[in-house]
């Protein structure tokens, strides 16, 4: 008797209501679109995550490595009930968030990675992810952990998450925190913003292609400056000044 091993390895997935795209205006005045993508889009995203695996600053290496693996696992049917939201400005990929349904009532947040910084892009993306769990999937709570101090500040402190000491998050490490429906509702209009429907032209631009980040990590230009952080922008700026003094730029 032949056995289709792939059928055994693939999880049985439950139907999940789709995330309706939304948009918001950033501090830069640009429109930012949050929308759900499917498996076919993952190969377009992975090349933009991969360089971040080498960025030590702010735990980008850890988060990028993990979200890369999670996206790959989603693409290859190795995680049950996972979803992926992409965040774009004029088509440019500025953030990716993902998570999964544990059961009908409980969701699990996986990762949030911002490819553009300084405009609250990651915070907006995380808020959209939470909106998906509560408003679209109608869940009661979402389990969350943070891997970086920035994440801890953004999620645990800003949302005042509740501790779940007895529950181990799938990402391992520290015990889970949880965002409950009540806490989520309290953050509406302040931490959770955005509008629907997305203007047709703005959505069309986002769906046309997932464009690369406009400011990707670069190799170190000045080794002393890059001693601890392979792509520390400081090194680039110091080198620029040196080049100016030497008349090279």
């Amino acid at each position: 008797m032949s056995v289709d091993l792939e059928k055994l390895l693939r999880p049985v997935e439950r139907p999940m209501a789709p995330f309706p795209p939304k948009y918001m205006v950033l501090a830069s005045g640009e429109n930012m679109v949050v929308r759900q993508v499917g498996r076919k889009d993952i190969p377009s995203i992975l090349p933009y995550i991969r360089p971040l695996i080498h960025v030590e600053r702010d735990y980008y290496d850890l988060v990028a490595a993990r979200i890369y693996a999670e996206l790959l696992a989603y693409y290859r049917y190795r995680v049950q009930d996972e979803y992926v939201l992409v965040v774009q400005v004029e088509g440019e990929l500025v953030a990716v968030v993902n998570g999964r349904m544990v059961n009908a009532d409980v969701g699990m947040s996986y990762h949030t990675i911002a490819l553009r910084r300084g405009l609250r892009v990651g915070a907006h993306a995380f808020a959209a992810k939470m909106e998906y769990h509560f408003d679209i999937l109608n869940q009661k709570e979402v389990l969350i952990v943070a891997e970086s101090p920035i994440g801890f500040r953004r999620w645990m402190i800003e949302y005042e998450l509740e501790k779940r000491p007895g529950i181990q998050h799938e990402l391992g490490g520290v015990p889970s925190y949880a965002l409950t429906k009540e806490l989520f509702d309290r953050a509406r209009g302040t931490l959770i913003v955005g509008r629907r429907p997305v203007p047709e032209d703005v959505l069309a631009k986002a769906e046309e292609a997932i464009l690369p980040p406009s400011d990707p990590p670069r190799p170190p230009a000045y080794l002393m400056a890059a001693a601890r952080s392979e792509y520390d922008p400081t090194g680039t700026a110091l080198m620029l000044q040196q080049w100016k003094q030497e008349g090279k730029v």
């Binding site: 501090a27 830069s28 005045g29 600053r57 405009l119 302040t190 001693a227 400081t234």
Partner: protein, 391 residues
């Protein structure tokens, strides 16, 4: 007194740096020495406010002079709150002007991102009056917020004016590769859109997130020298022509009118008088905009505009690059960042850069006279510098 010239400059990025504080203070020195072609100096001053408290590093002067291979030059650390930078420049100026030394290195450095934002805010608040302010929970953002509220009531400044300063300076920072903030912002994004309140929440009402300078690490250096040494470098002759310093009450509440920045007015007048210039002669200025309201208030006190009319000049675009008196074209504290001990030196760096005509995209055309205001405490220790290009 002898004439004193700024002959060499150097700077690091203002951001979160992964170096030790000593290194942050040393890199700009190395760049400034290359800039002027010197290898030996007589004296080194390091401006720093928080090394002992934030970085467990004292005696920075001794550390940096060795780190830069400048032994056996004299060395000392200058701590004067957020005005440490300009205070160190004043010391350097006096050393050269008096004839005691021919070449003095002044470097400023701070590593504030070693601690979290709350600790950094508390550290800066340690400059407030211990009994009249600090014990009541006063921080610099809260002091600035109360000052802003009074200014709004008295002179009609609005949140839109504050946001306009923020947009101007943060967008100026895009032309400065060493600036901390490298993202453009717009009035729509931080004030007018549905999402503006989330993008730009109140920190201490009426001051919002984009009204406050970031907490930065960074270092900057200016080398001061006698005329004889300056001529040998072959670089444009930038004279530190005026130095003014004034103080005011430690506690803001002890002032007759808290909106009256008396120390700024006195320090600016002293500095300009010493240099033999008037406010109308200044081509480019760096004012201490730790909070957006301060740029408006200082622009009035130093004499660029009448009291209560700074925000009107802002509306007319007079403080923009290309305007009548461009202010904070480097991005200022708001956009370039504010490593407290380094700020006063970074302001001087910018003046030398501008007056040399080397500032590239942010160059103020034909700049001959530059002015800086380094605002210590909440206006209780202010130092103003005036630079003149001699052709």
């Amino acid at each position: 007194m002898r004439n004193v010239y700024a002959i060499g400059i150097g700077i690091t990025s203002f951001t979160r740096l992964e170096f030790q504080l000593v290194e942050i203070a040393s890199y700009p020195v190395m760049f400034a020495l290359r800039d002027c072609g010197l290898k030996q100096v007589d004296q080194l001053y390091v401006a720093n406010m928080g090394g002992a408290r934030l970085n467990h590093q004292t005696a920075l002067g001794s550390a940096v002079v060795d780190s830069c291979n400048l032994l056996p030059a004299g060395a000392a650390t200058i701590e004067n709150g957020p005005a440490s930078g300009a205070a160190a420049i004043k010391e350097g100026f006096m050393a050269v002007a008096s004839g005691m030394h021919d070449v003095v290195v002044v470097t400023g450095a701070e590593r504030m991102r070693e601690v979290n934002g709350l600790e950094a805010t508390d550290f800066v608040a340690s400059l407030t009056h211990p009994l009249a302010e600090y014990i009541y929970g006063v921080t610099l953002p809260s002091l600035a917020a109360m000052f802003t509220r009074l200014y709004m009531e008295k002179y009609g400044v609005t949140e839109r004016h504050l946001a306009m300063v923020g947009v101007k300076n943060q967008n100026n920072a895009l032309k400065n590769e060493f600036a901390h903030l490298q993202q453009a912002i717009t009035l729509e994004g931080i004030l007018d859109s549905e999402e503006a309140f989330t993008n730009n929440p109140y920190v201490a009402e009426p001051l919002r997130f984009f009204d406050c300078c970031p907490v930065s690490d960074g270092g900057a250096c200016v080398i001061l020298a006698s005329e004889e040494v300056a001529k040998k470098t072959g670089r444009p002759m930038i004279r530190l022509a005026g130095v003014g310093q004034s103080t005011d009450t430690h506690a803001v509440l002890a002032r007759k009118d808290p909106t009256d920045l008396l120390a700024v007015r006195r320090a600016a007048a002293q500095s300009m008088e010493m240099a033999g210039v008037k406010p109308k002669d200044v081509d480019v200025a760096e004012l201490h905009d730790a909070f957006t309201i301060l740029e408006i208030a200082e622009s009035e006190e130093v004499g660029f505009f009448k009291k209560g009319e700074g925000h009107l000049a802002l509306e007319r675009g007079e403080t923009e690059l290309g305007g009548k008196i461009p202010i904070n074209v480097s991005g200022g504290l708001k956009g370039r960042g504010h490593p407290v001990g380094a700020t006063g030196v970074a302001q001087a760096y910018e003046m030398v850069y501008q007056l040399r005509g080397e500032a590239g995209e942010r160059q103020v055309k034909d700049a001959k006279v530059g002015f800086t205001c380094n605002f210590g405490g909440f206006g209780n220790n202010v130092i103003c510098l005036t630079f003149i290009r001699e052709d």
